[in-house]
């Protein structure tokens, strides 16, 4: 990720962010608001507007998939959204990512990126079939509460967060356990680590690795945020947009914060765009 200062940087207010939605998407309002409060120009963009050519990917400097849910999350979470994206604009998405534009997904958005094959992208930009899955939580339950996550490795969406820092962000999902083919999982996890693709891991409040309930899904190694090898496609299960401001943290009356723990995700990606495009 080359973020050396260019002669002329893009202005924050000129950055157009597409918040991509379809039938049954939710949490897009919070995502929109987070980018707006950071000074960018977010816009709700329906999948059909992109597929029909009424709106064009190249008019946006960032794509965000919100979460939530989509299409009732029938079949598997994010699967319907991903299959429609792939069949209508898979080629355009590949070119968009290869040009270095950032693509992010939160919760259902992360599930969409995994089902789509844009993450973890071990064999190329867009895998023909999914390379991973976000499987049902070990608890068998929908887990909805604050979690602690440690920043393991920076990407376009997190480079403003010091490596190793622990942040508090809420989760709300039933399927968040990052899974790979069982026989190859240990080798793939090593590969992700070596590539610097593991961005966030669940921890206890002091930043130590911990099992349930600190790790709400049973995801291996507490992995809850990954990026592609280039660092411009990123997905995470916790919701940074829900803690953009300090007063939406559940402990806001007890813990003083200058800004919400999620804000740095939006500041990071907008800084990345300012310097790169």
């Amino acid at each position: 990720m080359d973020l050396r200062k260019r002669e002329k940087e893009m202005k924050r207010g000129d950055i157009r962010v597409a918040i991509v939605r379809m039938e049954g998407t939710n949490c897009e309002e919070e995502m929109h608001r987070a980018f707006q409060k950071s000074g960018a120009r977010p816009e709700m963009v329906h999948l059909k507007e992109l597929a029909s050519g009424r709106k064009h990917l190249e008019d946006y400097q960032c794509l965000m998939f919100p979460g939530g849910f989509s299409a009732g999350d029938y079949v598997r979470s994010g699967a319907i959204f991903a299959s429609r994206l792939k069949s209508t604009m898979g080629g355009d998405l590949t070119r968009y990512v290869e040009r270095g534009y950032p693509v992010g997904g939160v919760c259902n958005g992360f599930q969409v990126l995994v089902e789509l094959g844009l993450l973890p992208a071990l064999q190329g930009t867009l895998a023909e079939a999914p390379e991973a899955a976000l499987a049902t939580n070990d608890s068998g339950r929908f887990e909805c509460r604050p979690t602690y996550i440690r920043h393991a490795s920076p990407c376009a969406f997190t480079h403003r967060i010091p490596r190793g820092q622990v942040r508090q962000m809420p989760v709300a999902h039933g399927e968040g356990k990052l899974s790979f083919p069982p026989e190859r999982q240990p080798r793939i996890l090593d590969q992700l680590e070596e590539n610097g693709q593991i961005v966030f891991r669940y921890t206890d409040p002091r930043g130590h690795p911990a099992g349930y309930p600190w790790n709400p899904s049973g995801t291996p190694g507490g992995i809850t945020g990954i990026c592609n090898p280039q660092g411009n496609v990123f997905g995470m299960m916790p919701h940074p947009e829900r803690v953009y401001d300090p007063w939406t943290h559940q402990d806001w009356t007890r813990v003083p914060r200058r800004e919400g723990d999620g804000r740095a995700v939006f500041e990071s990606v907008l800084t990345y765009i300012e310097k790169k495009f």
Binding site: V75, R76, A79, I80, S83, K86, S87, E115, A129, P130, E131, A132, A133, A135, T136, N137, D138, S139, G140, K177, S179, F180, P181, P182, E183, G218
Partner: protein, 82 residues
């Protein structure tokens, strides 16, 4: 042509839904219960009389949407004599 597509978790993949159902059924007194696994079944009708073509279409559906090959296997069965 009518087909039945069954999606099941691959061997070695955790099945919390099955495990929790097993636990509950045991609590309900089904003491001889050995194992419970969760499956998903789709009944699909395609407008062709050719069983080979119907199966080909169902396989394509599994590849493109119904199954994630990382954690799931699928099985296709024709239901009306195909």
């Amino acid at each position: 042509m009518l087909l039945e597509v069954t999606i099941r978790l691959k061997k070695g993949v955790a099945d919390p839904e099955g495990a929790n159902t097993l636990k509950t059924l045991r609590l309900l007194g089904f003491s001889t219960l050995q194992e419970v696994k969760s499956l998903k079944t789709w009944r699909i009708e395609v407008d062709t009389r050719d069983p080979g073509e119907a199966r080909r279409q169902a396989e394509e559906m599994c590849r493109r949407l119904l199954a994630n090959p990382v954690i799931q296997d699928y099985e296709i069965r024709t239901l009306d004599g195909g």
